[in-house]
Protein backbone atom coordinates (compact mmCIF):
# COMPACT_ATOMS: atom_id res chain seq x y z
CA UNK A 1 0.00 0.00 0.00
CA UNK A 2 1.27 3.47 -0.81
CA UNK A 3 2.08 5.67 2.09
CA UNK A 4 3.64 9.06 1.53
CA UNK A 5 6.71 10.11 3.50
CA UNK A 6 4.76 12.90 5.13
CA UNK A 7 2.15 10.45 6.38
CA UNK A 8 4.89 8.15 7.66
CA UNK A 9 6.52 10.94 9.65
CA UNK A 10 3.13 11.80 11.11
CA UNK A 11 2.57 8.19 12.05
CA UNK A 12 5.90 7.94 13.83
CA UNK A 13 5.29 11.20 15.65
CA UNK A 14 1.92 9.91 16.83
CA UNK A 15 3.39 6.57 17.90
CA UNK A 16 6.09 8.37 19.84
CA UNK A 17 3.48 10.49 21.60
CA UNK A 18 1.65 7.30 22.61
CA UNK A 19 4.86 5.73 23.87
CA UNK A 20 5.58 8.76 26.04
CA UNK A 21 2.01 8.89 27.40
CA UNK A 22 2.02 5.19 28.24
CA UNK A 23 5.50 5.04 29.71
CA UNK A 24 6.09 8.25 31.64
CA UNK A 25 4.04 7.56 34.79
CA UNK A 26 5.76 4.22 35.24
CA UNK A 27 9.22 5.67 34.67
CA UNK A 28 8.44 8.41 37.16
CA UNK A 29 7.38 5.80 39.72
CA UNK A 30 10.71 4.03 39.20
CA UNK A 31 12.64 7.26 39.47
CA UNK A 32 10.84 8.23 42.68
CA UNK A 33 11.48 4.81 44.21
CA UNK A 34 15.24 5.33 44.02
CA UNK A 35 15.36 8.95 45.20
CA UNK A 36 16.62 9.89 48.69
CA UNK A 37 14.27 12.00 50.87
CA UNK A 38 16.31 15.15 50.26
CA UNK A 39 15.60 14.98 46.53
CA UNK A 40 11.91 14.28 47.10
CA UNK A 41 11.50 17.21 49.45
CA UNK A 42 13.04 19.84 47.18
CA UNK A 43 11.41 21.44 44.16
CA UNK A 44 12.86 20.64 40.73
CA UNK A 45 12.90 16.85 40.84
CA UNK A 46 14.92 15.19 38.07
CA UNK A 47 14.17 12.14 35.93
CA UNK A 48 17.36 10.35 36.93
CA UNK A 49 17.96 10.32 40.70
CA UNK A 50 21.12 12.29 41.39
CA UNK A 51 21.97 10.18 44.38
CA UNK A 52 20.18 6.81 43.83
CA UNK A 53 19.47 4.81 46.96
CA UNK A 54 17.78 1.61 48.05
CA UNK A 55 16.79 3.13 51.39
CA UNK A 56 13.17 3.53 50.26
CA UNK A 57 12.84 -0.20 49.77
CA UNK A 58 14.24 -0.93 53.21
CA UNK A 59 11.99 1.68 54.78
CA UNK A 60 8.94 0.31 52.95
CA UNK A 61 9.50 -3.11 54.47
CA UNK A 62 10.03 -1.55 57.91
CA UNK A 63 6.90 0.58 57.77
CA UNK A 64 4.37 -1.98 56.58
CA UNK A 65 4.21 -5.78 56.73
CA UNK A 66 4.79 -6.10 53.00
CA UNK A 67 6.12 -9.64 53.03
CA UNK A 68 3.20 -11.02 54.98
CA UNK A 69 0.78 -9.10 52.76
CA UNK A 70 2.48 -10.44 49.64
CA UNK A 71 2.23 -13.96 51.05
CA UNK A 72 -1.48 -13.48 51.73
CA UNK A 73 -1.98 -12.17 48.21
CA UNK A 74 0.00 -15.05 46.75
CA UNK A 75 -2.00 -17.66 48.68
CA UNK A 76 -5.35 -16.11 47.79
CA UNK A 77 -4.45 -15.64 44.13
CA UNK A 78 -3.00 -19.14 43.69
CA UNK A 79 -5.96 -20.82 45.36
CA UNK A 80 -8.43 -18.72 43.39
CA UNK A 81 -6.69 -19.46 40.09
CA UNK A 82 -6.54 -23.22 40.67
CA UNK A 83 -10.12 -23.54 41.92
CA UNK A 84 -11.50 -21.27 39.20
CA UNK A 85 -9.91 -23.31 36.43
CA UNK A 86 -10.84 -26.69 37.93
CA UNK A 87 -14.43 -25.58 38.29
CA UNK A 88 -14.72 -23.66 35.03
CA UNK A 89 -13.14 -26.07 32.57
CA UNK A 90 -15.95 -28.68 32.57
CA UNK A 91 -18.61 -26.01 32.35
CA UNK A 92 -16.79 -24.18 29.57
CA UNK A 93 -16.68 -27.52 27.77
CA UNK A 94 -20.43 -27.86 28.00
CA UNK A 95 -20.92 -24.24 26.93
CA UNK A 96 -18.78 -24.78 23.84
CA UNK A 97 -20.02 -28.22 22.81
CA UNK A 98 -23.72 -28.19 23.72
CA UNK A 99 -26.34 -25.84 22.54
CA UNK A 100 -28.56 -26.52 25.52
CA UNK A 101 -30.61 -23.97 27.39
CA UNK A 102 -28.24 -24.28 30.30
CA UNK A 103 -25.22 -23.48 28.18
CA UNK A 104 -26.98 -20.49 26.67
CA UNK A 105 -28.06 -19.26 30.09
CA UNK A 106 -24.47 -19.57 31.29
CA UNK A 107 -23.20 -17.55 28.34
CA UNK A 108 -25.85 -14.94 29.03
CA UNK A 109 -24.80 -14.84 32.67
CA UNK A 110 -21.18 -14.24 31.68
CA UNK A 111 -22.26 -11.12 29.81
CA UNK A 112 -24.86 -9.89 32.30
CA UNK A 113 -22.58 -10.36 35.31
CA UNK A 114 -20.30 -7.67 33.91
CA UNK A 115 -23.00 -5.07 34.35
CA UNK A 116 -23.58 -5.31 38.09
CA UNK A 117 -21.91 -2.90 40.43
CA UNK A 118 -19.96 -4.72 43.10
CA UNK A 119 -21.76 -2.79 45.77
CA UNK A 120 -25.00 -4.61 45.09
CA UNK A 121 -23.09 -7.87 45.37
CA UNK A 122 -20.81 -7.09 48.26
CA UNK A 123 -23.44 -6.26 50.88
CA UNK A 124 -25.30 -9.57 50.60
CA UNK A 125 -22.00 -11.43 50.13
CA UNK A 126 -20.75 -9.80 53.31
CA UNK A 127 -23.87 -11.04 55.15
CA UNK A 128 -23.72 -14.54 53.61
CA UNK A 129 -20.03 -14.96 54.38
CA UNK A 130 -20.64 -13.66 57.88
CA UNK A 131 -23.23 -16.39 58.44
CA UNK A 132 -20.83 -18.99 57.06
CA UNK A 133 -18.15 -17.56 59.40
CA UNK A 134 -15.99 -16.88 56.38
CA UNK A 135 -15.75 -13.15 56.89
CA UNK A 136 -12.28 -11.82 57.60
CA UNK A 137 -10.73 -15.04 56.34
CA UNK A 138 -8.57 -15.77 53.31
CA UNK A 139 -10.66 -18.84 52.30
CA UNK A 140 -13.75 -16.61 52.20
CA UNK A 141 -11.91 -14.16 49.99
CA UNK A 142 -10.78 -17.00 47.72
CA UNK A 143 -14.40 -18.09 47.27
CA UNK A 144 -15.35 -14.59 46.22
CA UNK A 145 -12.39 -14.37 43.84
CA UNK A 146 -13.34 -17.67 42.22
CA UNK A 147 -16.85 -16.49 41.50
CA UNK A 148 -15.53 -13.14 40.38
CA UNK A 149 -13.02 -14.70 37.96
CA UNK A 150 -15.50 -17.24 36.60
CA UNK A 151 -17.23 -15.19 33.90
CA UNK A 152 -14.05 -14.31 32.07
CA UNK A 153 -12.52 -17.74 32.70
CA UNK A 154 -15.59 -19.42 31.22
CA UNK A 155 -15.49 -17.07 28.26
CA UNK A 156 -11.82 -17.73 27.54
CA UNK A 157 -12.00 -21.48 28.11
CA UNK A 158 -15.09 -21.92 25.95
CA UNK A 159 -13.14 -20.26 23.16
CA UNK A 160 -10.25 -22.66 23.63
CA UNK A 161 -12.59 -25.67 23.66
CA UNK A 162 -14.12 -24.59 20.37
CA UNK A 163 -10.65 -24.55 18.90
CA UNK A 164 -10.29 -28.28 19.68
CA UNK A 165 -11.89 -30.19 16.78
CA UNK A 166 -14.90 -32.19 17.95
CA UNK A 167 -13.97 -34.86 15.38
CA UNK A 168 -11.06 -35.93 17.57
CA UNK A 169 -13.45 -36.68 20.42
CA UNK A 170 -15.85 -38.47 18.13
CA UNK A 171 -13.05 -40.63 16.79
CA UNK A 172 -12.11 -41.60 20.33
CA UNK A 173 -15.74 -42.42 21.05
CA UNK A 174 -15.88 -44.67 18.02
CA UNK A 175 -12.83 -46.43 19.37
CA UNK A 176 -14.85 -47.18 22.49
CA UNK A 177 -13.42 -44.65 24.93
CA UNK A 178 -15.77 -43.56 27.72
CA UNK A 179 -16.78 -39.97 28.20
CA UNK A 180 -14.52 -39.23 31.14
CA UNK A 181 -11.69 -41.03 29.40
CA UNK A 182 -12.13 -38.84 26.32
CA UNK A 183 -12.12 -35.65 28.35
CA UNK A 184 -9.04 -36.65 30.31
CA UNK A 185 -6.88 -38.14 27.60
CA UNK A 186 -8.01 -36.40 24.40
CA UNK A 187 -9.46 -33.00 25.19
CA UNK A 188 -7.52 -31.98 28.30
CA UNK A 189 -4.03 -32.26 26.78
CA UNK A 190 -5.06 -30.12 23.82
CA UNK A 191 -6.65 -27.61 26.17
CA UNK A 192 -3.66 -27.43 28.51
CA UNK A 193 -2.11 -24.21 27.14
CA UNK A 194 -5.48 -22.47 27.28
CA UNK A 195 -6.08 -23.72 30.80
CA UNK A 196 -2.71 -22.41 31.94
CA UNK A 197 -3.36 -19.03 30.34
CA UNK A 198 -6.76 -18.81 32.00
CA UNK A 199 -5.31 -19.78 35.38
CA UNK A 200 -2.62 -17.12 35.07
CA UNK A 201 -5.23 -14.56 34.14
CA UNK A 202 -7.32 -15.49 37.17
CA UNK A 203 -4.16 -15.24 39.25
CA UNK A 204 -3.45 -11.68 38.13
CA UNK A 205 -7.06 -10.64 38.61
CA UNK A 206 -6.99 -11.89 42.19
CA UNK A 207 -3.48 -10.54 42.89
CA UNK A 208 -4.56 -7.06 41.77
CA UNK A 209 -8.00 -7.06 43.38
CA UNK A 210 -8.73 -4.39 45.96
CA UNK A 211 -12.42 -3.78 46.69
CA UNK A 212 -13.43 -7.19 48.05
CA UNK A 213 -10.23 -7.46 50.06
CA UNK A 214 -10.85 -4.02 51.54
CA UNK A 215 -14.37 -4.91 52.65
CA UNK A 216 -13.92 -8.53 53.66
CA UNK A 217 -10.58 -8.55 55.53
CA UNK A 218 -10.41 -6.61 58.74
CA UNK A 219 -7.54 -8.19 60.67
CA UNK A 220 -4.24 -6.58 59.75
CA UNK A 221 -2.42 -9.93 59.57
CA UNK A 222 -4.77 -11.21 56.88
CA UNK A 223 -4.79 -8.22 54.55
CA UNK A 224 -3.56 -8.52 51.00
CA UNK A 225 -0.93 -6.43 49.27
CA UNK A 226 -3.16 -3.82 47.56
CA UNK A 227 -4.92 -3.08 50.87
CA UNK A 228 -1.63 -2.77 52.74
CA UNK A 229 -0.28 -0.47 50.02
CA UNK A 230 -3.06 2.00 50.71
CA UNK A 231 -1.85 2.19 54.33
CA UNK A 232 1.18 4.11 53.09
CA UNK A 233 -1.17 6.96 52.32
CA UNK A 234 -2.00 8.60 55.62
CA UNK A 235 -5.42 9.72 56.75
CA UNK A 236 -4.82 13.24 55.47
CA UNK A 237 -3.69 11.93 52.14
CA UNK A 238 -0.07 12.76 52.98
CA UNK A 239 2.25 10.04 51.84
CA UNK A 240 5.91 9.28 52.30
CA UNK A 241 6.61 9.23 48.58
CA UNK A 242 9.84 7.24 48.48
CA UNK A 243 8.72 4.09 50.32
CA UNK A 244 5.29 4.36 48.70
CA UNK A 245 6.86 4.29 45.23
CA UNK A 246 9.21 1.46 46.18
CA UNK A 247 6.41 -0.72 47.55
CA UNK A 248 4.11 0.04 44.61
CA UNK A 249 6.86 -0.91 42.19
CA UNK A 250 7.52 -4.22 43.94
CA UNK A 251 3.81 -5.06 44.05
CA UNK A 252 3.57 -4.64 40.28
CA UNK A 253 6.45 -6.94 39.36
CA UNK A 254 4.63 -10.29 39.66
CA UNK A 255 1.69 -9.07 37.58
CA UNK A 256 3.99 -7.65 34.92
CA UNK A 257 5.98 -10.86 34.63
CA UNK A 258 2.94 -13.13 34.47
CA UNK A 259 1.19 -10.80 32.08
CA UNK A 260 4.16 -10.62 29.75
CA UNK A 261 4.08 -14.41 29.54
CA UNK A 262 0.40 -14.73 28.72
CA UNK A 263 -0.31 -11.52 26.82
CA UNK A 264 -0.54 -13.19 23.44
CA UNK A 265 -2.73 -15.97 24.77
CA UNK A 266 -5.11 -13.52 26.43
CA UNK A 267 -5.56 -11.68 23.19
CA UNK A 268 -6.05 -15.00 21.43
CA UNK A 269 -8.51 -16.14 24.09
CA UNK A 270 -10.56 -12.98 23.85
CA UNK A 271 -10.79 -13.44 20.13
CA UNK A 272 -11.49 -17.15 20.32
CA UNK A 273 -14.26 -16.46 22.83
CA UNK A 274 -15.73 -13.84 20.56
CA UNK A 275 -15.89 -16.00 17.48
CA UNK A 276 -19.20 -17.77 17.32
CA UNK A 277 -19.19 -21.19 15.78
Amino acid sequence: MRTTTGARVGQYAALLAYLVFLAFPFLWLLSTAFKPPSELAGLHPTWIPQDPTLANFRQAFDEQPLLRAALNSLLAALAAAVVAVVVATPMAYVMARHRTGLARAATGWVVVSQAFPFVLLIIPLFLVLKNLRLIDSVPGLVLVYVVWALPFALWMLAGYVRAVPAELEEAAAVDGAGRLRILVSVTAPLLAPGIVATALFAFITAWNEFFFALVLLKTAEKQTLPVVLTHFIGAEGVADLGPLAAAAFLATLPSLVVFAIIQRRITGGMLAGAVKS
Binding site: M1, A115, F118, V128, F210, A248
Partner: protein
Protein backbone atom coordinates in the same frame (compact mmCIF):
# COMPACT_ATOMS: atom_id res chain seq x y z
CA UNK B 1 -31.71 -23.76 49.99
CA UNK B 2 -33.32 -22.03 47.05
CA UNK B 3 -30.18 -22.46 45.03
CA UNK B 4 -30.22 -26.24 45.47
CA UNK B 5 -33.76 -26.56 44.17
CA UNK B 6 -32.87 -24.33 41.28
CA UNK B 7 -30.02 -26.58 40.30
CA UNK B 8 -32.31 -29.61 40.39
CA UNK B 9 -34.89 -27.87 38.35
CA UNK B 10 -32.50 -26.73 35.68
CA UNK B 11 -30.62 -29.99 35.34
CA UNK B 12 -33.34 -32.05 33.59
CA UNK B 13 -34.07 -29.16 31.28
CA UNK B 14 -30.86 -29.89 29.43
CA UNK B 15 -31.84 -32.11 26.54
CA UNK B 16 -30.28 -35.55 26.48
CA UNK B 17 -27.56 -35.29 23.90
CA UNK B 18 -27.33 -39.09 23.80
CA UNK B 19 -30.29 -38.96 21.48
CA UNK B 20 -28.44 -36.76 19.08
CA UNK B 21 -26.04 -38.55 16.81
CA UNK B 22 -22.53 -37.21 16.55
CA UNK B 23 -22.39 -35.90 20.11
CA UNK B 24 -19.83 -37.56 22.29
CA UNK B 25 -21.01 -36.38 25.67
CA UNK B 26 -24.32 -37.96 26.60
CA UNK B 27 -26.58 -38.46 29.62
CA UNK B 28 -26.95 -34.74 30.26
CA UNK B 29 -23.87 -32.74 31.13
CA UNK B 30 -25.10 -31.68 34.55
CA UNK B 31 -22.20 -33.14 36.47
CA UNK B 32 -19.79 -31.14 34.34
CA UNK B 33 -21.72 -27.96 34.97
CA UNK B 34 -22.40 -28.36 38.66
CA UNK B 35 -18.97 -27.42 40.05
CA UNK B 36 -19.17 -24.00 38.41
CA UNK B 37 -22.91 -23.56 38.66
CA UNK B 38 -23.06 -24.10 42.40
CA UNK B 39 -20.67 -21.28 43.36
CA UNK B 40 -22.24 -19.01 40.75
CA UNK B 41 -25.70 -19.61 42.19
CA UNK B 42 -24.67 -19.41 45.84
CA UNK B 43 -22.20 -16.54 45.63
CA UNK B 44 -23.34 -14.55 42.63
CA UNK B 45 -26.96 -15.03 41.55
CA UNK B 46 -28.18 -15.60 45.09
CA UNK B 47 -26.47 -12.58 46.65
CA UNK B 48 -27.63 -10.43 43.77
CA UNK B 49 -31.28 -11.30 44.39
CA UNK B 50 -30.69 -10.98 48.13
CA UNK B 51 -29.19 -7.55 47.43
CA UNK B 52 -32.28 -6.44 45.55
CA UNK B 53 -34.45 -7.66 48.44
CA UNK B 54 -32.26 -5.82 50.95
CA UNK B 55 -33.03 -2.57 49.15
CA UNK B 56 -36.62 -2.89 50.45
CA UNK B 57 -35.57 -3.39 54.08
CA UNK B 58 -34.05 -1.27 56.82
CA UNK B 59 -31.07 -3.61 57.18
CA UNK B 60 -28.21 -2.10 59.13
CA UNK B 61 -24.87 -3.43 60.22
CA UNK B 62 -24.55 -4.62 63.81
CA UNK B 63 -28.19 -4.05 64.76
CA UNK B 64 -29.82 -6.35 67.27
CA UNK B 65 -33.46 -5.78 66.31
CA UNK B 66 -34.74 -7.86 63.42
CA UNK B 67 -34.66 -6.30 59.96
CA UNK B 68 -38.06 -5.15 58.72
CA UNK B 69 -39.64 -4.65 55.32
CA UNK B 70 -40.09 -0.99 54.62
CA UNK B 71 -41.34 -1.15 51.06
CA UNK B 72 -40.02 1.54 48.79
CA UNK B 73 -39.01 3.90 51.60
CA UNK B 74 -35.31 3.64 50.73
CA UNK B 75 -36.02 4.59 47.14
CA UNK B 76 -38.23 7.49 48.19
CA UNK B 77 -35.48 8.73 50.49
CA UNK B 78 -32.98 8.31 47.71
CA UNK B 79 -35.12 10.44 45.42
CA UNK B 80 -34.59 13.40 47.74
CA UNK B 81 -30.96 12.67 48.52
CA UNK B 82 -29.25 15.52 46.69
CA UNK B 83 -25.81 14.25 47.71
CA UNK B 84 -26.48 10.96 45.98
CA UNK B 85 -27.72 12.58 42.79
CA UNK B 86 -24.69 14.84 42.76
CA UNK B 87 -22.54 11.74 43.08
CA UNK B 88 -24.58 10.09 40.36
CA UNK B 89 -23.99 13.05 38.06
CA UNK B 90 -20.25 12.90 38.78
CA UNK B 91 -20.37 9.18 37.99
CA UNK B 92 -21.92 9.88 34.58
CA UNK B 93 -19.43 12.64 33.79
CA UNK B 94 -16.62 10.30 34.83
CA UNK B 95 -17.94 7.31 32.84
CA UNK B 96 -18.49 9.25 29.62
CA UNK B 97 -15.40 11.41 30.15
CA UNK B 98 -13.26 8.31 30.44
CA UNK B 99 -14.93 6.07 27.87
CA UNK B 100 -14.98 8.47 24.93
CA UNK B 101 -11.30 9.60 24.96
CA UNK B 102 -10.34 6.04 25.84
CA UNK B 103 -12.02 4.79 22.69
CA UNK B 104 -10.63 7.51 20.40
CA UNK B 105 -7.07 7.18 21.72
CA UNK B 106 -7.24 3.40 21.60
CA UNK B 107 -8.55 3.48 18.04
CA UNK B 108 -5.68 5.74 17.01
CA UNK B 109 -3.12 3.50 18.66
CA UNK B 110 -4.67 0.35 17.21
CA UNK B 111 -4.59 1.85 13.70
CA UNK B 112 -0.92 2.74 14.19
CA UNK B 113 -0.06 -0.71 15.52
CA UNK B 114 -1.78 -2.24 12.53
CA UNK B 115 0.70 -0.41 10.26
CA UNK B 116 4.15 -1.59 9.44
CA UNK B 117 5.98 0.73 11.83
CA UNK B 118 9.34 0.06 13.41
CA UNK B 119 8.61 0.82 17.07
CA UNK B 120 5.51 -1.34 17.15
CA UNK B 121 6.98 -3.88 19.54
CA UNK B 122 7.80 -1.14 22.06
CA UNK B 123 4.25 0.18 22.02
CA UNK B 124 2.86 -3.34 22.38
CA UNK B 125 5.14 -4.02 25.34
CA UNK B 126 4.32 -0.70 26.98
CA UNK B 127 0.63 -1.17 26.49
CA UNK B 128 0.82 -4.15 28.81
CA UNK B 129 1.91 -2.07 31.79
CA UNK B 130 -1.32 -0.23 32.59
CA UNK B 131 -3.29 -3.41 31.99
CA UNK B 132 -1.24 -5.64 34.26
CA UNK B 133 -0.81 -3.15 37.08
CA UNK B 134 -2.96 -3.41 40.19
CA UNK B 135 -5.42 -0.52 40.16
CA UNK B 136 -4.12 0.52 43.56
CA UNK B 137 -0.62 0.88 42.12
CA UNK B 138 -1.95 2.88 39.17
CA UNK B 139 -3.56 5.23 41.66
CA UNK B 140 -0.42 5.52 43.76
CA UNK B 141 1.72 6.10 40.68
CA UNK B 142 -0.43 8.95 39.42
CA UNK B 143 -0.54 10.49 42.89
CA UNK B 144 3.22 10.73 42.59
CA UNK B 145 2.95 12.18 39.08
CA UNK B 146 0.41 14.77 40.28
CA UNK B 147 2.32 15.56 43.48
CA UNK B 148 2.57 19.35 43.70
CA UNK B 149 6.28 19.41 44.56
CA UNK B 150 7.92 16.10 43.68
CA UNK B 151 5.61 15.35 40.74
CA UNK B 152 6.73 15.37 37.14
CA UNK B 153 3.65 17.19 35.90
CA UNK B 154 4.26 20.40 37.83
CA UNK B 155 8.00 20.17 37.19
CA UNK B 156 7.39 20.00 33.44
CA UNK B 157 4.99 22.93 33.65
CA UNK B 158 7.59 24.88 35.62
CA UNK B 159 10.18 24.14 32.95
CA UNK B 160 7.81 25.38 30.29
CA UNK B 161 7.05 28.48 32.33
CA UNK B 162 3.36 27.61 32.69
CA UNK B 163 3.08 27.98 36.41
CA UNK B 164 3.34 24.63 38.09
CA UNK B 165 2.18 25.22 41.62
CA UNK B 166 -1.17 23.51 41.25
CA UNK B 167 -2.31 20.78 43.61
CA UNK B 168 -4.16 18.83 40.95
CA UNK B 169 -5.94 16.26 43.09
CA UNK B 170 -7.00 18.72 45.80
CA UNK B 171 -8.18 21.54 43.58
CA UNK B 172 -11.96 21.77 43.31
CA UNK B 173 -11.79 22.44 39.57
CA UNK B 174 -8.95 20.10 38.65
CA UNK B 175 -9.65 16.97 40.70
CA UNK B 176 -12.26 15.39 38.43
CA UNK B 177 -10.39 16.08 35.15
CA UNK B 178 -7.22 14.77 36.79
CA UNK B 179 -8.76 11.45 37.81
CA UNK B 180 -10.43 11.15 34.39
CA UNK B 181 -6.99 11.30 32.74
CA UNK B 182 -5.88 8.44 34.98
CA UNK B 183 -8.98 6.47 34.06
CA UNK B 184 -8.26 6.93 30.36
CA UNK B 185 -4.64 5.86 30.82
CA UNK B 186 -5.56 2.78 32.84
CA UNK B 187 -8.22 1.47 30.47
CA UNK B 188 -6.61 2.25 27.13
CA UNK B 189 -4.63 -0.98 26.65
CA UNK B 190 -7.60 -3.34 26.88
CA UNK B 191 -9.55 -1.26 24.39
CA UNK B 192 -6.53 -1.07 22.09
CA UNK B 193 -5.98 -4.82 22.16
CA UNK B 194 -9.64 -5.50 21.40
CA UNK B 195 -9.70 -3.01 18.53
CA UNK B 196 -6.40 -4.24 17.16
CA UNK B 197 -7.72 -7.79 17.12
CA UNK B 198 -10.73 -6.51 15.20
CA UNK B 199 -8.53 -4.62 12.74
CA UNK B 200 -6.46 -7.68 12.03
CA UNK B 201 -9.64 -9.52 11.17
CA UNK B 202 -10.66 -7.05 8.49
CA UNK B 203 -10.12 -8.34 4.99
CA UNK B 204 -6.82 -7.00 3.71
CA UNK B 205 -7.69 -7.56 0.04
CA UNK B 206 -10.67 -5.23 0.34
CA UNK B 207 -8.39 -2.55 1.72
CA UNK B 208 -5.91 -2.96 -1.09
CA UNK B 209 -8.63 -2.99 -3.72
CA UNK B 210 -9.99 0.28 -2.36
CA UNK B 211 -6.49 1.78 -2.43
CA UNK B 212 -6.04 0.70 -6.03
CA UNK B 213 -9.35 2.37 -6.87
CA UNK B 214 -7.86 5.58 -5.49
CA UNK B 215 -9.74 5.81 -2.21
CA UNK B 216 -7.95 8.06 0.28
CA UNK B 217 -7.05 6.96 3.81
CA UNK B 218 -10.18 8.47 5.37
CA UNK B 219 -12.43 6.95 2.73
CA UNK B 220 -10.82 3.56 3.16
CA UNK B 221 -11.33 3.81 6.91
CA UNK B 222 -14.99 4.76 6.53
CA UNK B 223 -15.96 2.25 3.91
CA UNK B 224 -13.74 -0.75 4.63
CA UNK B 225 -12.26 -0.64 8.13
CA UNK B 226 -15.08 0.82 10.18
CA UNK B 227 -17.87 -1.54 9.02
CA UNK B 228 -15.69 -4.52 9.92
CA UNK B 229 -14.63 -3.00 13.23
CA UNK B 230 -18.06 -1.80 14.35
CA UNK B 231 -19.25 -4.86 16.27
CA UNK B 232 -16.07 -5.01 18.35
CA UNK B 233 -16.02 -1.25 18.82
CA UNK B 234 -19.61 -1.34 20.06
CA UNK B 235 -18.98 -4.22 22.42
CA UNK B 236 -15.84 -2.79 23.97
CA UNK B 237 -17.38 0.68 24.35
CA UNK B 238 -20.45 -0.73 26.06
CA UNK B 239 -18.26 -2.76 28.41
CA UNK B 240 -16.00 0.21 29.11
CA UNK B 241 -19.02 2.34 29.94
CA UNK B 242 -20.22 -0.23 32.45
CA UNK B 243 -16.80 -0.86 33.97
CA UNK B 244 -16.06 2.82 34.29
CA UNK B 245 -19.40 3.64 35.87
CA UNK B 246 -18.81 0.89 38.43
CA UNK B 247 -15.17 1.63 39.12
CA UNK B 248 -13.92 2.13 42.62
CA UNK B 249 -10.26 1.43 43.42
CA UNK B 250 -8.65 4.09 41.22
CA UNK B 251 -10.52 7.03 42.64
CA UNK B 252 -10.49 5.58 46.15
CA UNK B 253 -6.69 5.67 46.06
CA UNK B 254 -6.36 8.96 44.19
CA UNK B 255 -8.74 11.21 46.08
CA UNK B 256 -11.02 9.12 48.34
CA UNK B 257 -13.85 11.02 46.68
CA UNK B 258 -12.55 14.45 47.66
CA UNK B 259 -12.10 17.37 47.52
CA UNK B 260 -15.53 18.22 48.89
CA UNK B 261 -17.07 15.23 47.13
CA UNK B 262 -16.01 16.44 43.68
CA UNK B 263 -14.81 12.97 42.69
CA UNK B 264 -17.18 10.91 44.82
CA UNK B 265 -18.32 8.31 42.31
CA UNK B 266 -21.58 6.44 43.10
CA UNK B 267 -19.58 3.33 44.05
CA UNK B 268 -17.60 5.30 46.63
CA UNK B 269 -20.80 6.84 47.93
CA UNK B 270 -22.51 3.47 48.29
CA UNK B 271 -19.39 1.95 49.85
CA UNK B 272 -19.30 4.63 52.52
CA UNK B 273 -23.01 4.32 53.15
CA UNK B 274 -22.72 0.56 53.61
CA UNK B 275 -19.41 0.05 55.36
CA UNK B 276 -18.77 3.34 57.12
CA UNK B 277 -22.31 4.14 58.24
CA UNK B 278 -23.64 0.55 58.12
CA UNK B 279 -26.77 1.44 56.13
CA UNK B 280 -27.00 -1.83 54.20
CA UNK B 281 -30.56 -1.41 52.99
CA UNK B 282 -30.06 2.15 51.79
CA UNK B 283 -26.79 1.27 50.04
CA UNK B 284 -28.44 -1.70 48.35
CA UNK B 285 -31.10 0.66 47.03
CA UNK B 286 -28.31 2.79 45.56
CA UNK B 287 -26.90 -0.31 43.91
CA UNK B 288 -30.30 -1.05 42.37
CA UNK B 289 -30.57 2.47 41.00
CA UNK B 290 -27.08 2.12 39.51
CA UNK B 291 -27.96 -1.17 37.83
CA UNK B 292 -31.14 0.37 36.43
CA UNK B 293 -29.24 3.38 35.13
CA UNK B 294 -26.58 1.23 33.49
CA UNK B 295 -29.17 -1.04 31.89
CA UNK B 296 -31.23 1.80 30.49
CA UNK B 297 -28.20 3.70 29.17
CA UNK B 298 -26.94 0.56 27.53
CA UNK B 299 -30.25 -0.31 25.98
CA UNK B 300 -30.55 3.19 24.53
CA UNK B 301 -26.93 3.14 23.37
CA UNK B 302 -27.12 -0.27 21.74
CA UNK B 303 -30.52 0.25 20.11
CA UNK B 304 -29.38 3.62 18.75
CA UNK B 305 -26.16 2.16 17.41
CA UNK B 306 -27.79 -0.87 15.87
CA UNK B 307 -30.32 1.31 14.12
CA UNK B 308 -27.53 3.56 12.90
CA UNK B 309 -25.91 0.47 11.44
CA UNK B 310 -28.97 -0.41 9.41
CA UNK B 311 -29.08 3.01 7.82
CA UNK B 312 -25.41 3.04 6.90
Amino acid sequence: MTSVTEVRRSAPRAPDPGRRPGRVVGHGPWFLVLPALLPILVLSVGPLLYGVLLAFTDAQSGRTEPTRWIGTLNFRDLLHDTLFWESFRIGLVWAVGVTVPQFLLALGLALLLDQDLKLRWAARALAIIPWAMPEVVVGIMWRIVYNPDAGILNETLRDLGLGGDRDWLSGLATALPAVIVVGVWAGMPQTTVALLAGLQNTPRELHEAAAVDGAGAWRRFRTVTWPALRPIALAITALNLIWNFNSFALVYVLTQGGPGGRTRLPMLFAYEEAFRYGQFGYAAAMGCVMVAAVSITLAVFLVGRLRGGEEA
